[in-house]
C-alpha cells in the first residue's frame, strides 16, 4: 500500500486488473470508474486491444499450453514482487487462474466477476474462481441461483438489478450501515440475521444506500468493524441489540465515537426496546427504535435526511437537548405482507452454517409475528402478544423468491408459533407442492407448540418438504412446565413427538434446566423424559432471565438475580440467578450430563451413519463430535452453550 502525504494522508491501492483481450477487456474498461484514484495495472494477453492500455503486462496468448501456464506463474510472481498489488480484480477468462493462484501465494485478496455472457451456465473458469476468489460476482440473476451462497449479485453491466426494497434515488441519499456485533461468548453465525435484512429493505425503500456488517459471519473484531465504518463514512449506523450482543455493540460504539465525525448511532432490537435509557446514556446511542423497526426507522431517516430530529416519530426514544425523551408507542405493523422482503443480497451468505440444518445454504423466513402465549422465559417486546399471520400466498411468494433468486437450498421457518392456524399451514403446504417447491427441505427451527399439531398437519408438512420439526417441551415435570406458564401437558408432548415420528419427520425437542424451584430430581426426570421420547435431537439450555421477560421481573423482585453486568447474562450455559433449589455448579453439571446422556447413546450415534454420505452431513457430524467433547470435558460447557443463540417460544 502506498501512502502519499498531501494535506492529509491519502491511501492509494495498487490493483492488478486481469482479463483477456476481447469482451472481458470491454467489461473491465466499463468498470474503470471503480478503480479511479488508485494505481491500477493490467495483466493481459498480447493483442491489438491490450497494447493500447496505459500500464499493462502482456503475455503471449496461449491459454491451453501447460508450459505457458507455468511460465505465467513465474512471470506473475516477478510482477507481484515489483508492483506489490493490494488487490486483484478479474473479469475472466482463464487468464484469471494463474493470477488468482499467485495472489493466494502472496496473500493478496481477489475479486472475480463472471462474464456477462454467462447467463444460466457457469464458465469453467468461474467454477474454479467460485472457490478460489475472495469475492465472486455474477451478472445475471439466473446464474446466482446456479452457483451457491458464495456468489453475489450486486449490479450488472447488462442486467437490471434494483435493491430488493426498491430504488428511490433522492437528491440526498443517506448512507446507512447496519451492524450485528459479535456475541459476548464469541462469534456465532448459525443463520443470517433476519431483523437486519428486513431493516435493510425498509431503508432501501426510503432511498438509503445500505451496507451490512455481520461481525459474526465475517469474524470481525470491534476494531475491524470500527475501521470499516470509518472507511465507509456512513450518515447513520444501526445496531441490532439483544442482551448477548450488548457488550460487543458497546465496544464498537466506543470506537465510532472516537472517530473525527461520528455518524448518527441508532439501536433497535429486544434489549434496546426494554432498556432504551441504558443505550441512550452519555456517549452511546443517539436514537433507540423501540419494538418493530421497519416503519419507525423509515420515518426517522426521512426526518434525518431533511436535517430534522426525531420529534413526533412514534416508537423512538432519543435525547432532546440532553434530556431523554420517549415518543409514544407505535402500533405494531398490521399488514405484514406490506413489508418488503428481506434483502439478503447484502449478506455474506456463504459464511453461515448450522449443525441443526441439512444444508449450509439455508435462508430463514418468518411467516407470522407475535405470540399470544405468556411463557415466563420468552421475550415479546418486539413483536408483541397479538398474533399477526401473513397470508399463505404471500409466504409462498417469498419462499419461492428465496429459492429462485438466491438459490437457497434449505429454508428455516423461524416463527414462534408457526402452526397456530392449521388451515393456513395446510394452504402453505399445498401451495409449496403446487409450485414445485416441496423438493426444498425445510424445518421449523424455533419450535412448534405441542398443542398446535395434529397427525394430518404434520403429514401435510412432511409432504411439502419439511424434514424436521422442533418442539418446546422445556421440562419432563408437569409442575415445572406449569411454573413457566407454558400451558402444555406432558401427554401433549408425547403425542406430538409420536405423531411427528409417524409422519416421517425428524424431531428435535428443547428443554431448559435450572428453572425457579426446580430440584435435582426434576432435572433427572427431564433427562428420563427425554430418553423416553427418544427424539432425533435434544437441545438443553440453562434458564436465563432476559430483561423484559416475566422471569426477569420475578427474579429481580425476589432479589434472586446474581449478575454484576449484562456480560454475565450473555454467557449461555451458566446460571444467572438463584433458582432456590440448585446451585450454579449443580446446574452446569446437570446440563453437561443431560447432553452427554443424549448424544453419547449408541442409538443416537447409529442414527448418524446415513448422514455421513454427504459432504455437508460429514462436516456437520465431525463438528458435532467436537461439540459433544465439550460436554464431556468439564469447563468447556460455557463455550458449548453459547452456540445456541437466543431462543424464544
Amino acid at each position: 500500500m502506498r501512502t502519499e502525504t498531501n494535506a492529509e494522508t491519502v491511501k492509494r491501492l495498487s490493483i492488478c486488473l486481469a482479463c483477456s483481450h476481447g469482451g472481458h477487456l470491454t467489461e473491465m474498461l466499463s468498470l474503470a470508474e471503480a478503480f479511479e484514484g488508485h494505481d491500477a495495472f493490467y495483466f493481459c494477453y498480447d493483442a491489438d486491444t491490450t497494447r493500447a492500455l496505459p500500464r499493462a503486462h502482456l503475455v503471449p496468448n496461449r491459454p491451453r499450453n501447460p508450459l505457458a501456464f507455468v511460465a505465467n506463474l513465474f512471470r506473475l510472481a516477478r510482477i507481484f514482487r515489483k508492483e506489490r498489488p493490494d488487490l486483484v480484480v478479474s473479469t475472466g477468462a482463464e487468464i484469471a487462474i494463474p493470477v488468482v493462484l499467485v495472489a493466494k501465494l502472496f496473500r493478496v485478496p481477489s475479486v472475480y466477476i463472471e462474464c456477462g455472457a454467462q447467463v444460466t451456465r457457469p464458465s469453467w473458469t468461474g467454477r474454479l474462481m467460485y472457490w478460489l476468489a475472495d469475492r465472486f460476482y455474477v451478472q445475471w440473476r439466473e446464474l446466482l441461483r446456479v452457483y451457491g451462497p458464495r456468489a453475489r449479485m450486486r449490479g450488472s453491466l447488462i442486467d437490471e438489478d434494483e435493491p430488493i426494497g426498491g430504488d428511490r434515488s433522492r437528491e440526498r441519499r443517506l448512507k446507512a450501515t447496519l451492524v450485528q456485533s459479535a456475541y459476548a461468548g464469541g462469534f456465532s453465525s448459525d443463520q443470517p440475521p433476519m431483523g437486519l435484512a428486513y431493516i435493510a429493505s425498509a431503508l432501501e425503500g426510503h432511498g438509503c444506500e445500505v451496507r451490512v456488517i455481520d461481525a459474526n459471519a465475517e469474524r470481525l473484531s470491534a476494531q475491524d468493524v470500527t475501521a470499516l465504518i470509518a472507511g465507509q463514512a456512513p450518515d447513520l449506523v444501526c445496531f441490532t441489540v439483544t442482551t448477548p450482543l450488548l457488550p460487543g455493540t458497546l465496544g464498537i460504539v466506543k470506537g465510532i465515537r472516537a472517530l473525527g465525525q461520528p455518524p448518527m448511532l441508532i439501536a433497535g432490537g429486544p434489549h434496546a426496546t426494554v432498556l432504551p435509557e441504558e443505550l441512550l446514556a452519555e456517549g452511546a446511542f443517539d436514537y433507540v427504535v423501540r419494538s418493530e423497526g421497519e416503519v419507525t426507522l423509515g420515518e426517522l431517516v426521512e426526518r434525518l435526511a431533511q436535517g430534522q430530529d426525531a420529534e413526533g416519530v412514534a416508537g423512538v426514544s432519543w435525547r432532546k437537548n440532553g434530556r431523554i425523551v420517549h415518543n409514544p408507542e407505535r402500533p405494531l405493523c398490521a399488514e405484514l405482507d406490506a413489508l418488503p422482503c428481506p434483502d439478503w443480497s447484502l449478506f455474506p451468505l456463504g459464511r453461515y452454517s448450522s449443525l441443526a440444518r441439512r444444508n449450509d445454504f439455508c435462508l430463514p423466513i418468518i411467516t407470522s409475528r407475535g405470540c399470544p402465549y405468556g411463557c415466563t422465559f420468552c421475550y415479546k417486546g418486539v413483536f408483541g402478544r397479538r398474533l399477526r399471520l401473513r397470508p399463505a400466498a404471500d409466504v409462498v411468494d417469498e419462499w419461492q423468491f428465496l429459492v429462485e433468486r438466491y438459490g437457497a437450498r434449505e429454508i428455516a421457518v423461524i416463527d414462534d408459533v408457526f402452526t397456530a392456524d392449521a388451515e393456513r399451514v395446510q394452504a402453505i403446504c399445498a401451495m409449496l407442492t403446487e409450485r414445485g417447491l416441496a423438493r426444498i427441505p425445510w424445518s421449523t427451527t424455533n419450535g412448534l407448540r405441542v398443542n398446535h399439531v395434529t397427525p394430518e398437519l404434520l403429514q401435510a408438512m412432511k409432504a411439502a418438504g419439511c424434514y424436521r420439526v422442533y418442539f418446546g417441551a422445556e421440562s419432563g415435570v408437569q409442575r415445572v412446565i406449569d411454573s413457566l406458564n407454558k400451558n402444555i401437558t406432558i401427554e401433549q408432548v408425547r403425542a406430538a413427538v409420536r405423531a411427528a415420528h409417524e409422519a416421517g419427520l425428524e424431531v428435535g425437542v428443547y428443554f431448559m434446566l435450572g428453572n425457579l424451584g426446580e430440584t435435582l430430581a426434576d432435572t433427572e426426570a427431564t433427562m428420563r423424559f427425554c430418553r423416553e421420547l427418544d427424539p432425533d435431537y435434544a437441545q438443553y439450555t440453562v434458564a436465563t432471565p432476559y430483561p423484559g421477560t416475566a422471569l426477569y421481573d420475578e427474579v429481580v423482585t425476589s432479589g434472586r438475580l446474581r449478575i454484576d453486568a449484562w456480560d454475565d447474562l450473555a454467557s449461555y450455559g451458566s446460571m444467572a440467578f438463584d433458582s432456590g433449589e440448585l446451585t450454579s455448579r449443580v446446574v452446569a453439571r446437570q446440563y453437561r450430563k443431560a447432553l452427554r446422556k443424549f448424544y453419547c447413546r449408541p442409538r443416537f450415534l447409529m442414527r448418524q451413519l446415513p448422514g455421513l454420505t454427504t459432504w455437508t452431513g460429514f462436516k456437520h457430524r465431525l463438528l458435532g463430535l467436537g461439540l459433544v467433547a465439550t460436554f464431556i470435558v468439564p469447563g468447556w460447557s460455557r463455550r458449548a452453550g453459547r452456540r445456541r443463540g437466543e431462543r424464544t417460544a
Binding site: M1, K11, L13, I15, G22, G23, T26, S30, L31, E33, A34, F35, H38, D86, L87, V89, P109, S110, V111, I113, C115, G116, A117, Q118, V119, T120, R121, D134, R135, Y137, Q139, W140, E142, R152, R154, G155, S156, L157, I158, D159, E160, D161, E162, E209, R211, L220, D224, A227, L228, A230, G231, Q232
Partner: protein, 162 residues
C-alpha cells in the same frame, strides 16, 4: 430500415444472412447487414464488415427494427439504441459458434421482455414485421456493480483483506 448485426465472431452465420436476403426481396424494405469476419455475402441486402461504434449507434437509432445475433456486445448496443429488436442465437449445431451460450442470452432477453427471440428462421419475417417495442426504462445496474467494487476496495483499505 432493418439493421442486422453479426458482431465480431469469426464463424459464419449464413442462415441469418440468406433469410434476411429473402425477407428484403419480398418486402422491399432497406436492409443493412454488419457482417464482421464471416465469409457469406448477402445478395439483396446492403452490407459492411465493420464501422466505428459511433457510426453503428447512429445507424441503429435510425433502424425500424434491429436483428442481432445473441452476442453480449451486440445485445447491449441494441438495448442502448432503444429500438425494437429481434435476437437470433448462433447455434453450435450449424457451426455458427463454439458453444450454445447465445441461446441462454437470447432466452434471457426474451424473458426480460427486452426483445424477441427467433430460433426458427421461418418465423423471422413475422418477427421483423411485428417486433416487441423496445423497453422504455431499460437501465443496466452498472453503477451498482461499480459501487460494489468500490466497497471491496474500501474494505481492503480498512482491513487489508476482503
Amino acid at each position: 430500415m432493418i439493421y442486422v448485426t453479426l458482431g465480431t465472431m469469426f464463424l459464419d452465420f449464413p442462415r441469418l444472412i440468406r433469410k434476411m436476403d429473402e425477407i428484403a426481396l419480398s418486402t422491399g424494405e432497406k436492409t443493412v447487414i454488419q457482417i464482421g469476419l464471416g465469409q457469406t455475402r448477402p445478395e439483396t441486402c446492403e452490407f459492411f464488415d465493420f464501422k466505428s461504434r459511433d457510426e453503428i449507434l447512429r445507424i441503429q437509432r435510425e433502424a425500424r427494427v434491429i436483428v442481432c445475433h445473441a452476442g453480449i456486445g451486440s445485445v447491449l448496443d441494441a438495448l442502448e439504441a432503444r429500438r425494437p429488436f429481434v435476437v437470433v442465437p448462433r447455434l453450435k449445431k450449424y457451426n455458427e459458434h463454439m458453444s450454445d451460450h447465445q441461446l441462454d442470452i437470447a432466452e434471457a432477453v426474451q424473458r426480460r421482455g427486452w426483445g424477441r427471440m427467433v430460433m426458427d428462421m421461418a418465423l423471422l419475417a413475422e418477427a421483423c414485421a411485428n417486433p416487441t417495442p423496445a423497453p422504455p426504462s431499460y437501465r443496466p445496474a452498472e453503477a451498482r456493480l461499480v459501487a460494489a467494487l468500490r466497497d471491496d476496495i474500501e474494505r481492503v483499505m480498512a482491513l487489508g483483506r476482503l
